[in-house]
Amino acid sequence: MRIAAIALNTFREAVRDRILYSILAFALLLIGASAVLASLSIGQEGRIVKDLGLASISLFGTFIAIFLGIGLVFKEIERRTIYAIIAKPIHRFQFLLGKYIGLVLTLLVTVGAMVLLVVVLAWAIDGHWTPGLLAAAALDFVALMIVTAAALLFSTFSTPTLSAIFALGTFLIGRLSGDLKIFADQFAGLGLRLIANGIYLVLPDLSRFQMGAQIVNGLPFDSAQIAGTLLYGLAYILMLLSLAIGIFQRRDFK
């Protein structure tokens, strides 16, 4: 109940943030512009709208997750409201979980608006409904939840600027860590291969959550792979939140 109250409050606070609307406006503009850009292709209008739409959701969703996530804890400390909160009969983990859920809720609403526009545009261009788009957006949302958890983790121990750099770094590394695995497999030496594979296992692999290629090329989905990816995402979020809670519990606010 306490977590729900904090989550709702975080959501209310986030939807009042102007940066959210600026990013959302840019995202919707880009998704809308993809329809114009698509008209330059030869018969590939639907493909380009879906592709650019999913990429916009991923990219702008990440910006929202980072720019709102980095200030979650810092703002409370800066405004000194954290003292009033921790003085109340509420556990620190409840506070942090509430903040996380509130931000995820904000993301759900903004990503939902973007998905709606992509689905409507794709429908208007293709003349038929593409259910895979929703599956792709849902999987991408789990990747955004990982980035949000990373932003929250960094915000528990550093300034918003540093948190933004760390969270953006996590996103970039996460997008490219799939390539690291490919490079690792190409290394001749066993030692190097083990190190590269070890780094790959520690870093989040956000490329797993991308289904854009399957959607735009009409390729079949592997249900087992999707289920595995969802489990991986959940495990990674739990790990990041546990770390964030661990750090936040030890933090001295005196």
């Binding site: 650019l52 997008r175 799939g178 854009g212 290629a213 090329n217 390729l219």
Partner: protein, 235 residues
């Protein structure tokens, strides 16, 4: 804060001033320079096509989006030459970049090969591209079909055309005329008995009078040709 340059009320004014400065200081002079120098050739912009391995990393995993952008540039490149000199030497490199970023972009193989073949007169390049497309997309009929068409129409290599039509025939969504081409190509490559069997099977399973009539005509022709072994040819 009230006297600060970053006061919210002043930010909009500063942004408008910066936009105007950019417009009059850079955009308009550059536009005028462009008009004096004449239109910029598209080749000046093809530096955007980095090696595919570098683009894969630079696209941050948004490979299909990068492939789309590369495809749009390819279309512009083809269009800029199609109405003028019809020379498209960069086409193979450009399509190669597109399909390296997204190996499942079937239309890039087929349209790229089409322009390479008929505008660029590069049949071997078109075949190499389509073979790559067929290997990367074994469940799509289009690359196999276009390979068959290229071997059939441009190279008159009926054996290879037959092989690729047979590959396309096994794939879902292939055009209805593929079995008829296969039967004709069997006849053209000297397998009249197989061709006859195929036409008879088509006649017996035909759901339209039009196909049945074609099958009966071809059967009659093949049976007549049995007595004239020098005749033959695919149409």
């Amino acid at each position: 804060m009230r006297g600060s340059l970053l006061h919210p009320a002043r930010i909009a004014v500063i942004a408008i001033l910066l936009c105007l400065a950019l417009l009059f200081g850079a955009v308009i002079p550059l536009h005028r320079t462009g008009q004096i120098r004449g239109a910029t050739s598209f080749e000046e912009g093809t530096w955007l096509f980095l090696p595919p391995a570098a683009l894969r990393v630079a696209s941050l995993g948004f490979r299909t989006v990068a492939a789309d952008m590369a495809w749009l540039l390819t279309i512009q490149y083809i269009g800029s030459h199609f109405a003028t000199d019809r020379k498209i030497p960069e086409l193979f490199r450009m399509v190669d970049t597109v399909v390296a970023l997204d190996p499942h972009f079937v239309e890039a193989y087929t349209l790229g090969a089409l322009f390479m073949n008929y505008s660029g007169r590069n049949v071997s390049g078109a075949i190499a591209l389509l073979e790559r497309g067929a290997a990367a997309n074994p469940t799509r009929w289009e690359p196999a079909h276009d390979l068959a068409r290229t071997y059939y129409l441009d190279l008159k290599d009926y054996r290879k055309a037959l092989h690729w039509f047979e590959v396309a025939d096994k794939l879902p969504g292939r055009p209805h005329y593929v079995p008829r081409f296969i039967a004709r190509l069997y006849a053209a490559t000297g397998h009249q008995d197989t061709a006859l069997d195929l036409w008879r099977a088509m006649r017996d399973s035909a759901t339209s009078d039009w196909v049945r009539e074609i099958a009966e005509r071809e059967i009659a022709k093949l049976e007549a040709e049995r007595h004239r072994p020098s005749a033959g040819g695919a149409r």
